[in-house]
Amino acid sequence: MQGAKNLHRIHLWYAIYLYVKGDACMQIKTRRDGAVLAVHLTGELDHHSAAPLRAELDALLQDDGIGHLVLDLGGVSFMDSSGLGVVLGRYKILKARRGSLRIIGASKPVERILKMAGVYALLGQQEGMERGASHV
């Protein structure tokens, strides 16, 4: 039991360390394979980081040749409902060009938010099926 408590404390201090270190911003890595753009996100996705992320994704999606977007959330350590806006907004863009958006790698807490908003159902995929997978 003491070990579990210490584990909690270690996680908390690690999170504080990441915040102080400046990892509260998102980093993105992309890989293009034909009409598929895979984007791996790392960091915390909140209202603060959503705006630059949205701008960066929209700049990438200016390319009409991209029909399918794979969002790999494997590196997202925190997400609130601001992340839902980013996902749903990009889904609308892809849907308008008869494309698709797929989410992979979401952790349990991130998955919980996505599930609450019915995102997996909207995207036509099952939550948790590809947790930990990476396309980037």
Partner: protein
């Protein structure tokens, strides 16, 4: 179990969202919560602070005050702004309702707060601001019992 409280005030800008949720989680850690409980608190606080910044102050600068208390094993956090207030609190709390669809807001902020915390109450007065109070009971483990 001891009682405790803390209060912080900060500028209502998005850079402080991460600070606020970390401060609340650090304070709540005295109760030895699980990682899941801490994540719930961080997420709910992030939603409330974001609402204060976006909807309370709507781009104008203002101060957000966060007060956290521990009583018995109940963690309570109140996020208060002195912004424009909410005209219809019941409507604002409806899932998927957003007064700012142009900002790609999902309208899930209050729904997330209610799902992640045990109790959420909202007091708001037009022209004077909003206070969101959230409570969460943290289960006792080991020597905390």
């Amino acid at each position: 179990m001891f009682d405790n409280e803390m209060q912080v005030s900060f500028l209502g800008i998005s850079q402080n969202e991460a600070f606020a949720r970390m401060a609340a989680a650090a304070f709540a850690s005295q109760l030895n919560p699980t990682i899941e409980e801490l994540t719930d608190i961080r997420t709910a606080v992030s939603e409330a602070v974001t609402n204060a910044i976006i909807h309370g102050y709507g781009g104008k600068r203002g101060i957000v005050t966060m007060r956290c208390t521990i009583k018995d094993r109940c963690f309570t956090v109140t996020v208060r702004d002195e912004g424009k207030g909410i005209a219809d609190v019941s409507l604002a709390m409806q899932p998927f309702y957003t007064s700012m669809p142009n900002l790609e807001r999902s309208g899930m902020g209050f729904a997330v707060m209610e799902a992640f915390m045990d109790r959420v109450t909202v007091e708001s007065e037009l022209g004077h601001g909003t206070a969101v109070t959230m409570e969460k009971q943290i289960a006792a483990v080991g020597c905390d019992e």
